[in-house]
């Protein structure tokens, strides 16, 4: 019997794909001459778009989270210079809605993005003309982008999210009554989706880091001898957690004004 073809060399598993450091350092966009700062901004902007569109499309948070991870992963294979970030964000939320079993019509996705863009440009509300060339063009672009994302990621589009880990871990730590702690950890998690931590760490590690950060902020003591997080995952090294925390804090600080910006638009 013939050996089954490997899918463009992608390693398959139900676990999330963790990229090596080299791949995270030298991105295709930077090789195309895009500055690191600009790339980070485009990553955040795309994720904000996805979050805002997801709310307007009444999707559950898990669909937005999946879409954001797909979006981030895609741009470690392809360049922002060659592939439009807005189209890709549309394709990712369209695809993630299907993956998470809450499919949305492509027409609604196109229209919601159109709406957000008009808001950003402070134009009055208007529904896109479904017979227009503009609409047909956008729609066909999104469908093409959806296939590109699938091809590039080798159909590895199941994302394991740390949300559940957070809840389980807090239960084991007997902190599951502390709603403030849960909410804070949850928020850290959702914020960190705008960064590349999901390409760097396992969901278990991310969950531990979010709890660690929140507990420290709220001044809640957790077992430290041995450190509590070692119980949950053998690979959760203190150093790893530390690095993660730093990157979360950095990106959250940097994020705040951008998040506010788009959220305000949605609220209006």
């Amino acid at each position: 019997m013939a050996v089954p073809t490997e899918f463009s060399g992608v390693v398959l598993s139900l676990e999330n794909t963790i990229y090596p450091d080299e791949k995270l350092q030298e991105t295709p966009s930077q090789l195309d001459g895009l500055s690191k700062e600009m790339e980070t901004n485009l990553r955040i902007a795309g994720c904000e778009y996805i979050q805002a569109a997801g709310i307007l499309l009444k999707l559950p948070q898990v669909a937005m989270a999946t879409a954001q991870v797909l979006y981030q992963r895609y741009y470690y294979s392809k360049s922002f210079v060659k592939y439009n970030y807005e189209i890709c964000a549309m394709a990712c939320i369209f695809l993630a809605a299907k993956i998470e079993e809450h499919p949305r019509r492509i027409r609604d996705v196109v229209n919601v993005f159109y709406h957000i863009r008009r808001k950003l440009n402070e134009l009055p509300n208007k529904v896109m003309d479904y017979m227009s060339n503009e609409y047909f063009h956008k729609k066909s672009e999104v469908i093409k982008a959806e296939r590109r994302v699938l091809k590039e990621l080798g159909f590895c589009v199941h994302v394991k999210h740390p949300h559940k880990c957070i809840v389980t871990y807090l239960k084991i730590l007997e902190c599951n009554d502390n709603t403030e702690l849960i909410q804070k950890a949850w928020n850290y998690m959702n914020d960190s989706l705008r960064t590349d931590v999901f390409m760097r760490y396992t969901p278990e590690t991310i969950a531990c880091a979010c709890i660690y950060l929140s507990a420290r902020q709220l001044g809640i003591g957790l077992p430290s001898n041995p450190p509590w997080y070692e119980v949950f995952d053998a690979t959760t090294k203190e150093m790893e957690v530390y690095l993660l925390i730093v990157s979360v804090i950095d990106s959250v600080d940097m994020l705040i004004y951008q998040v506010k910006y788009v959220v305000d638009i949605i609220a209006s």
Binding site: A2, L12, L14, L95, E101
Partner: protein
């Protein structure tokens, strides 16, 4: 795409057409599933998406192997391992008589494939004879993962429209939207009985109400004692009250151990139904043979 030559159309799947084809590079016979994608519809169908995502992660001798996905201009070609026929056609060809050792072997292989799926947190959700393939060597392969889903992620409710009616478990028929691996076990139990009865479907209901009636007639109408919480599911409708039938009339060709296993798989309360792993440990499978001997 050039290396595959279509030989003959095998059938129409849940989406797109399936062909028997030959790979000219290797000489291997494969099944090609063609999925049309055009700009007029909603991009890649979710059926195809799920099937590809999940099958890529499942590698087991009792699960159909996905070899490759070829991206065409207006279509996707999914390349599967080729199997001669599905279980339905196999049963039809048997003309009402299936050897007990085949019943045992097929059920065992089916459960092995299922146990593997479940251990990878994947529900098949559509186990029917049409979705089970039989090779020339008597190997059983689970196929058609278009309705399957990964249940590792937290999900509030699943779609209640799963599994072809005859193989749908009573909890799903009653509208339960939170279900687990037990729904696949119910379907497998139905097929176990169908095989032992020479290919006669066990529960051929006409619609949801009729399906429930047939189930209750055989296994008895459930109540709070045997299935805590069922009254909540049954509150919208009146169901006639039946007593369970003797299992000997339901599966007359199964031996004592077979009947016992069958009953463990067909418990009305999903939380008390046995798991695939437990079923495989059952004494009925002692000395089971792999494929034809």
């Amino acid at each position: 795409m050039e290396s595959y030559e279509k030989l003959v159309k095998i059938g129409e799947g849940t989406y797109g057409t399936v062909y028997k084809a030959v790979n000219h590079d290797t000489g291997e016979i494969v099944a090609l599933k063609k999925v049309r994608i055009d700009d007029e519809n909603e991009g890649i169908p979710s059926f195809a998406l799920r099937e590809i995502c999940l099958l890529k992660e499942l590698k087991h001798k009792n699960i159909v192997m996905l070899y490759d996905v070829i991206h065409g201009n207006k279509e996707l070609m999914i390349v599967f391992e080729y199997c001669d026929q599905d279980l339905k056609r196999y049963c039809d060809a048997c003309q009402g008589k299936i050897d007990p050792s085949i019943v045992q072997s097929f059920t065992n292989q089916l459960l092995q494939g299922l146990a593997y799926c479940h251990s990878h947190h994947i529900l098949h959700r559509d186990i029917t004879p049409q979705n089970i393939l039989v090779t020339g060597n008597g190997d059983i392969k689970l196929a058609d993962f278009g309705l399957a889903r990964n249940f590792g992620i937290p999900v509030k409710s699943f779609s209640a429209e799963v599994v072809t009616l005859w193989y749908r478990s009573p909890d799903v028929l009653l509208g339960a939207t939170l279900y687990d691996t037990s729904i696949d076990i119910w379907s497998t139990g139905c097929i176990f009985a169908e095989l032992s009865n020479g290919g006669q479907p066990l529960l051929p209901g006409k619609d949801v109400a009729d399906q429930l009636k047939i189930i209750f007639k055989i296994f008895g109408t459930p109540n709070e004692q045997i299935w805590p919480g069922v009254s909540q599911l049954m509150k919208d409708k009146d169901y006639p009250s039946y007593n369970a039938m003797s299992i000997l009339h339901v599966v007359p060709n199964l031996n004592q151990l077979g009947c016992d296993l069958f009953q463990l798989m067909m418990v009305l309360d999903p939380s008390k139904r046995c798991t695939a792993e437990q079923a495989l440990q059952h004494a009925y499978f002692k000395g089971v043979s792999e494929g034809y001997t």
